[in-house]
Assembly symmetry: C2
Homo-oligomer: 200 residues x 2
């Protein structure tokens, strides 16, 4: 059921024009550059139009994340191979792809804005999900699996987000192996004073 008017077509690509400019602004000048005024001067699209589409800079950021392509994990089913591949993929994305810029912007925007906080939660979940699914065949469930994901991923995020250095690939690969070879070291082990079981 279509209604009359001027729907989005090849002649009305203003949304795409503005969003591509917005992505460029976000990655070069930060989320503070996503104002209607800034987008207007950057694209030539009328300020009124920008306001109609996205009343606030946060709405622009949300639209950017909405539109952003999500890489489809191509898992082989072999746990170790898939996890190492995911580590490499995440390190790459954290370095040069928009992911790093998105993360900074979302963290900043979500700190005191509940709607953006929801967006952040979903975005981070999308980052963690491939690791969860890759870990599924390993027999880890529930909290143990969450801990494994966190152990692998969180040091990478700490590097990228707080220490501003390239994510430490090698360490993450070692963590993957530790999780798979000796899960008792980190997960489900008794508190302390008890030695882990001998390896076969």
């Amino acid at each position: 059921m279509t209604r009359p008017g001027r729907p989005a077509g090849p002649a009305s690509d203003t949304e795409a024009v503005v969003l591509t400019a917005a992505l460029d602004l976000l990655l070069t000048e930060g989320a503070a550059a996503l104002s209607a005024q800034r987008l207007h001067t950057a694209t030539g699209v009328s300020r009124s139009t920008v306001y109609r589409h996205w009343p606030t800079p946060h709405a622009v950021l949300a639209a950017l994340i909405e539109v952003a392509p999500r890489p489809a994990p191509s898992h082989t089913g072999e746990v170790r191979t898939d996890l190492h591949a995911e580590v490499d993929a995440l390190c790459d994305r954290l370095r040069d792809k928009p992911v790093g810029g998105f993360l900074h912007a979302i963290v900043a925007a979500a700190a005191w804005d509940s709607a953006m906080a929801d967006l952040r939660r979903r975005y981070v979940e999308d980052l963690l999900a491939p690791f969860r699914t890759a870990l599924a065949p390993a027999g880890l469930t529930g909290a143990a699996r969450e801990d494994a994901v966190s152990a692998i991923v969180s040091p990478l995020l700490l590097d990228a987000l707080l220490l501003d250095r390239p994510a430490a690939r090698e360490r993450a690969h070692r963590t993957v192996d530790a999780v798979l070879d000796t899960p008792h070291c980190l997960f489900g082990a008794p508190r302390w004073g008890v030695r882990p079981p001998e390896l076969a």
Copy 2:
């Protein structure tokens, strides 16, 4: 060697007045509220005066962090005890103290501001330092010690900063024990396909 004029004394407490209001604003409304205008309306201190002290909102944030008390780690020398105490202290600080607000604000401000990036680096280093010193008697050095610190701390920061949930104490305590009891599981182990040495 003092010079004439009106030095900072008990009669000129405007700096303290503004900074305490700024801390309140930061924790309730975020770093965006640290503008001269906002501090003026919040405290009654003249806008000119605010500008004279801190020309930019980032300068206010830097002053807040500068003034913030740094908890002195009271280490016993017993590695396990000290690390568990540090984990508890960090979890507490991440939850209700200004640390969480500071972290969010610094991450946001540092994303596209090199001066704030330096400040962030120092702030994060201050967060990690107690763990490094606590680990010193354990014989871990260099990269292995850095990895250990990261393994313990980064999941907590991920919880607080990206997942917006209370830091997982229990998991961090287990990680501490794993680092101390079976360091070969995570650090210094060969890549993969090689089983860690049997435990005595």
